[in-house]
Point group: C2
Chain length 199, copies 2
C-alpha cells in the first residue's frame, strides 16, 4: 500500500513509520520535515499534499496541538485552540482526502488517553480527544467507496516519557511497538468508526 | 436549591424545568425568552447573567446548535460551528460560573446520542457530543470547592419527534419525564465527570 503519514517526525509518527516501513510504501509529511511539507491548519496546503502524492491507500495523522492548563486558568480560546489544531485539522485531512484515497482505503487519526484517564491540566486535550472519537463513529457510516476511518488513542509513550512524564504520575507507559501495531491494525484490518485505545 | 436553566424554552429545557420546578427555585434563561436573557456565544453576556442571578446552587445548560449534513457536504467551518455553538458555549458557561456556584454545587450540560448511535447527517453533532463527554471527564477532577460537572446525553425526545423524527428512522423515543430525571440525578446526586445517557 501507498500510505501518507502526517506528523511522521513526532514520537507517535516515528512509531507508525517503524511499523509500516517494511511492509508498505510510506510517504512522510509534516510541517517542517518529511517527503512533503503540509500545514493541516491551512486547507489549501492539505489539497496540495494530496495533489503531490496522487492516489494513496491509507492516510495516517499523528499531528495535533492542544493547550494545557488548570481549569481555573483555562479560557474559551484555549479550548478552541485544541479544537482547531487537533480536531479540525484531522477532520479537514479526511474531508480533503475523500477523493484521494482508493476504494476500501482508510484514514487513521490520533487522539490520546486524557478523556478516559484524565489529569488536572488536561481538559483541553480531553475535549479534543472526545471530539475525535465522536467524529469517527459518525463519519464511518457515511464514507464513500468502502473507505474507513478510525482514531488511535495512545497512552503515554515510553519514547515521550522523558519530555512529558512528569505530568503523568503513576501512568504506565506504552511501547512504541504497541502503538505502531494499533495503526497497522486500523490500516490492514477492517475496523471502522472505532476509537482504538493503547493503554 | 436555586438553579439556572439555560435554554429553558426548548424541548429538553422544558423537560428539565418540569422536573425541577416543584422541588427547587428555577431561574429560566435563554436567548429570546426566560427570566434572564443570555447569549452563550457572547462571554460578557454570560458574566452578566451570573451577576444578575447572584450565587446559585446549580446550573443546567440545555442549549446548543450544530450543523447537520452528509459527510461529502460537510466542511471544516460546519464542524467548527458546532464546536463553537454547542461545546465552547457550554464550557464558557462552566468557566464563568466557577465562582458563582455555591460549594458542592453542579453544572449539568447537554450533548446527545449521535456519538454512540450515529446517523449519516450527524457527524457534526457527534463531534460536539464527544467533545463534551471528554470535557466533563477531565474538568471534574479539577473543579474547586466540591463543584461537580456532568453531561446528559438524551436520545430523541418524544416531544421532538414530530419536528425531527424523520431523521431518526427506527430510533426509540425517550419521554420528557426520563430526560428530566437524568438532570435531577446529576443535580441532587453526587455524580461528577459523567456522561449520562438517556436511551
Amino acid at each position: 500500500m501507498k500510505i501518507i503519514v502526517v506528523g511522521a517526525a513526532g514520537d507517535i509518527g516515528r512509531a507508525v513509520c517503524a511499523e509500516l516501513s517494511g511492509r508498505h510504501d510510506v510517504i512522510t509529511a509534516g510541517r517542517t520535515s518529511g517527503d512533503i511539507r503540509v500545514d493541516l491548519a491551512d486547507e489549501p496546503s492539505i489539497a496540495e499534499m494530496y495533489r503531490a502524492t496522487g492516489r494513496v491507500d491509507a492516510v495516517v495523522c499523528a499531528a495535533g496541538e492542544v493547550e494545557f492548563g488548570r481549569l481555573a486558568e483555562m479560557t474559551g480560546d484555549k479550548y478552541l485552540f485544541g479544537l482547531k489544531n487537533k480536531v479540525l485539522t484531522q477532520i479537514n485531512l479526511v474531508l480533503a482526502g475523500l477523493n484521494a484515497v482508493s476504494d476500501d482505503g482508510s484514514f487513521t487519526l490520533t487522539s490520546g488517553m486524557l478523556d478516559r484517564d484524565p489529569i488536572r491540566v488536561g481538559s483541553g486535550s480531553a475535549t479534543a480527544n472526545g471530539a475525535l472519537a465522536g467524529f469517527v463513529k459518525a463519519a464511518a457510516i457515511d464514507m464513500p467507496r468502502g473507505l474507513r476511518v478510525n482514531v488511535v488513542s495512545p497512552g503515554l509513550l515510553e519514547a515521550s516519557a522523558e519530555k512529558y512524564g512528569s505530568w503523568f504520575p503513576g501512568f504506565e507507559q506504552v511501547s512504541s511497538k504497541r502503538v505502531g501495531l494499533a495503526y497497522l491494525k486500523c490500516i490492514e484490518g477492517g475496523l471502522t468508526g472505532q476509537m482504538v485505545p493503547v493503554d
